[in-house]
Amino acid sequence: MVVYGVALLSACLVVGMLIGEALGVLLQVEANVGGVGIAMLFLVIASNSARFKSLIEGASGRGIEFWSAMYIPIVVAMAARQNVVAAFEGGMLAIVAGVAAVIVSFALVPLLSKIGDKNSDENTNTNNEVDA
């Protein structure tokens, strides 16, 4: 049933959000700490596990795929409800700070991605050694 997949997806998000909120309280920050990320991990684990097969295969899986496919339309709606006026009217300081932060962060992507490469190489090496 389609709804099984939707239910699994919803449950992952709600539980992830609860953990994120709890982490926020524990760390004494007024924010949800990684709730969505934790929910995604749950869904990844569920969709890679045999135990949840009935909730992710066939019609159930299509219930999740539907929402995954609705992602871009939802993002377009999200863009349409941003406070773009406030961003522009924050003055030059806000614009310069925002632009500078983005440029520096963009520039760091290739640098930090290299850490990932090296790391994965090491992983494959150790895996090979274990295999040998």
């Binding site: 007024e30 990320g37 992710i56 795929e65 349409a80 773009v84 300081l93 925002g98 290739p110």
Partner: protein
């Protein structure tokens, strides 16, 4: 007119689906016919959305872009946090655990690097603009992280509402620029695989910006970027009013 309003308001979410669907249809048509696929249809749609949000905000004076127009109220629900998070989590369906493990360490490092770098860039700009109060500098720096970290940090430190508004504006500029800029720079920063997407999400941190930016670049990368990005705001709210504030106070 009243008749239309009643029906539109009563069925606001359905109106939103129809309007967004039409926007995407036009955008993909334009992308296909006029740019021959060089610009992604979703990038055009997101830009149209932002433009609409600007004019909607100008017209209504509200904070929610086009969603403050009575007839388009459903856009607020469709593009709100709940639906956004629901769809983001759904994109994780089918992600391989091995891909996540491969970029795990780089992903974690990138979240810390992202918060700290954006913070200090924002703080430097604040200093360059003549701010010398550590609370103001910290709040503006936190705003350059995300538009949530800014006000959370500002209210924790007792910053004035003017400074908090400035920090929100800086975060909004960042988020919008990431939405528009990501597909343009993707080629130059090697943003074409799950690992670099995780690093990218961690460095940028703005969930909306990363979500839209990656969607316009390559939808397959979305779950990887979103996964790290969602930890960023939490980390920022943790570091902003504490360690980062202490550092700024010690320097100034």
């Amino acid at each position: 007119m009243e008749l239309i309003e009643t029906v539109f308001v009563r069925n606001s979410l359905l109106v939103a689906f129809a309007v967004v669907g039409a926007t995407l249809w036009i955008s993909y048509l334009v992308a296909d016919k006029f740019t021959h696929g060089r610009i992604h249809g979703s990038a055009i749609a997101i830009t149209l959305g932002l433009l609409a949000a600007y004019f909607g905000g100008k017209f209504t004076g509200g904070n929610n872009g086009v969603a403050d127009l009575t007839l388009l109220g459903g856009i607020g629900l469709m593009g709100g946090g709940m639906m956004r998070d629901f769809a983001i989590v759904a994109t994780a369906f089918g992600v391989k655990i091995s891909e996540l493990k491969k970029a795990g360490l780089a992903g974690v490092i990138s979240i810390f690097a992202g918060v700290i770098v954006s913070f200090f860039v924002g703080a430097l700009v604040a200093v360059a603009y003549g701010y010398s109060d550590p609370v103001a500098i910290t709040t503006i720096g936190a705003g350059a992280a995300t538009y949530i970290v800014g006000p959370v940090t500002g209210s924790a430190l007792g910053a004035s509402s003017e400074i908090i508004a400035l920090s929100v504006a800086a975060g909004l500029v960042k988020s919008i620029l990431v939405m528009i800029g990501t597909p343009i720079v993707a080629r130059f920063i090697g943003l074409n695989n799950p690992q670099s997407a995780m690093v990218f999400g961690g460095l940028m941190g703005t969930t909306s910006g990363v979500a839209a930016g990656l969607a316009a670049t390559d939808p397959k990368l979305v779950p990887y970027g979103a996964m790290t990005a969602t930890f960023y705001t939490g980390l920022g709210c943790l570091l902003g009013p504490s360690i980062l504030f202490f550092i700024i106070r010690a320097i100034v």
